[in-house]
């Protein structure tokens, strides 16, 4: 089964078959020009990556052990682990933010992603107007931040929002303040995030479903599998590379969840998220570089776990093959 599934993977996600002979050692010597071209092609991006990604990252890590006002380099003073102690013990928004990030992850993983998959499966059935539905569900992914803020504001407003109107509570004291009430605003924000995330996941799965060989489904049908069985036992496992991408996307999206809460109230009052706290502490007038860097490092370490997991899986498999 698994070897059959291997053949069904879309070519771009498949192992580079051409590299196999190279692995067995029968390689022609590279000409000097090849070497030059190769080192340029590898070296320049590596340098850019180093300068723009890893250098700032290392600097952040370094700054997280200092106190600095961000003005004069001479003002940097060592602080040891005090910034980490501060965020874990004295900074009230920190632990709620960690909890909210986890909640966000659970919500996206259990609701938004399955919803995207469901949409993809439905739209893959060649129903009439499928293209139109696809565009509708994908549209939120393309909208700008400001527009999303306005759209959900219209929906969630306390006095004249659509939701309170539909509930019949608009204008009455019973009207729920979906963004202002800290017991519900996280859920309101997560629904807004789902609205974007599901469209994204849908598009990826649609591509994945198109890549599944129809004969596989036919074979399952001949063997007497029901539609549900066919999907979960045959089609879904056949989309394994896509599934891995989706898992990683979901985890990363939940860790860097930022835009929706930031447009609502800049991530305060029940909407604390790690990324919003990083921005609050690193950018702007209220900047405390040491504390902000420490928060950023915490976020980096958490994000590295799924990234390393993903990379070791993909590369590990490649080396095996």
């Amino acid at each position: 089964m698994s070897s059959t599934a291997q053949e069904l993977i879309p070519p771009e996600a498949r192992e580079p078959a051409g590299s196999r002979p190279a692995k067995s050692g029968r390689v022609r010597r590279l000409s000097g020009r090849d070497k030059l071209v190769l080192s340029l092609m590898v070296g320049i991006p590596t340098l850019i990556e180093l300068a723009l990604v890893w250098l700032p990252t290392l600097m952040s890590v370094g700054l997280s052990f200092t106190r600095w006002n961000g003005l004069d380099l001479a003002d940097i003073r060592p602080a040891g682990g005090e910034n980490y102690q501060f965020i874990s013990q004295d900074y009230p928004p920190f632990w709620p933010a960690v909890q909210h990030n986890l909640l966000w992850l659970l919500f996206l993983a259990l609701i938004a992603t399955p919803l995207g998959l469901l949409l993809a499966v439905l739209l893959d059935q060649n129903i009439r107007g499928s293209k139109i539905y696809q565009s509708i569900f994908f549209a939120p992914v393309m909208l700008s931040l400001a527009l999303i803020g306005i759209i959900w504001q219209l929906f969630y407003q306390r006095d004249n929002g659509l939701l309170n109107f539909l509930l019949g509570t608009a204008g009455t004291p019973k009207a729920v303040d979906w963004f202002g009430d800290s017991s519900v605003n996280m859920w309101a924000a997560m629904i807004a995030a789902t609205w974007r995330h599901a469209g994204y996941v849908m598009l990826l799965y649609l591509a994945g479903l198109k890549g599944v060989d129809p004969s596989l489904k036919e074979a399952a049908a001949i063997d007497g599998a029901s539609a549900v069985q066919t999907f979960f036992r045959v089609v879904f496992p056949a989309m394994r590379p896509i599934n891995i991408v989706i898992v990683v996307i979901t985890i990363i999206e939940s860790l860097r969840a930022f835009d929706v809460v930031y447009v609502i109230n800049r991530g305060t009052n029940g909407l604390e998220m790690l990324s919003a706290l990083v921005i609050q502490n690193l950018v702007g007038e209220g900047q405390v570089i040491g504390v902000g860097s420490a928060l950023a490092v915490v976020l980096l370490v958490i994000s590295l776990v799924p990234i390393v997991f993903y990379l070791s899986r993909t590369f590990g498999k490649e080396n095996q093959a």
Binding site: V42, N69, T268, Q287
Partner: protein, 436 residues
Amino acid sequence: MASKFDASATAFPSRRTILKTVGVGAAGLAGIPFLAACTGGSGPSATGSDSSGLTFGSGSSDDVPKRAYQAVTDAFTAKTGKKVTTNVVPHNDFQNKINSYLQGSPDDAFTWFAGYRMQYYAGKGLLAPIDDVWQTIGGNYSDALKKASTGPDGKMYFVPNYNYPWGFFYRKSLWAEKGYQVPETFDALKSLAAKMKADGIIPIGFADKDGWPAMGTFDYLNMRLNGYQFHVDLCAHKESWDQQKVSAVFDTWKALLPFQDPAALGQTWQDAAKALEAKKTGMYLLGSFVTQQFTDPAVLDDIDFFAFPEIAMEGRDAVEAPIDGLLLSKKGGENKAARDFLAFLGTPEAQDAYAKVDNSNIATAKGADTSKFTPLNKKCADTIKGAKYISQFFDRDALPAMANNVMIPALQSFIKDGSVDVKNLEAQAKTLYAAQ
């Protein structure tokens, strides 16, 4: 030899890896314009250090203040023949980027605020002292304003343009109809609020979605209970947060919380202003800029205000009236035209030109035209004139990080459940002030 070949074979990166790295590099390259956009906030400025003109950075980006500053620069050019190049930046961006702005290539003169927010940058040597300018304009200002314009080293840095008092705003017609009286003491305020509540009105309008408006209530309670000097010392962290005096502020506030709009955390001050206009709330504690929201002249005429009532023996001699004005950047200090421009702003003539366009604020220079004042303007001006102390609002008197990162969440959670951990406030303050 063969083993060597093998080694080179494994070191040879697969086509896919190369492509992947190239892809990442391309993404990095694509990131460059974004990064440039993030840092390049200072705009076109580096020109004109000669005395034929100056550059002027303005964070007054709203339509009315923008036109008002335009009127000032036009008047300056007409008077002296020196050209002013104005760079207007949206005010939130302007404030958020002030650090990099002042260290990069700032304009000669720029709009800013009095208080700690000014003194901090003066102390870091990023501003030019203007004692010579104050020698010509000093007579135009009261002592309180002069004090507010002084840096930590005793030199003058700031030229005040206008300020606006904070107080309880209300609709006269509603109060006349229901027979409400202006409360002079905190107890009277509480009983008035209870009466309003019984009448089915939300007694005190309140909005704190943006986080900062609640600081006004905190400041007034603090100054009425503990006095102006304590406010200043607390903001500068010369006083500890973990003490009875601070707890007393929150305890007193707790008595007021049931009368403040329970929807505060979900609305902005603009929403709360509309609620006051609609007579849904009885009064609203805010700066006089609240009147900008009342576009209907009939409503505007119906607005009055009273100062925050007396609580303890500290009386009512402190008023919260943030001052906006101009500063000279370090580079601008070498430009004679920029100094002339600041001196010009310190004259009644320039402030009249400003107030002609933007009349929601009170000009600070003595001798500025008061003939066009509405009764409300006049009351605002008298309140400020009669004040012994002028505070600048918490987020201008305190370290910005303290105001933004500590006070906003603390006040929002206090509004939610009426509890606050002063020990934790002190712990946070200690770390943040030490980092400066």
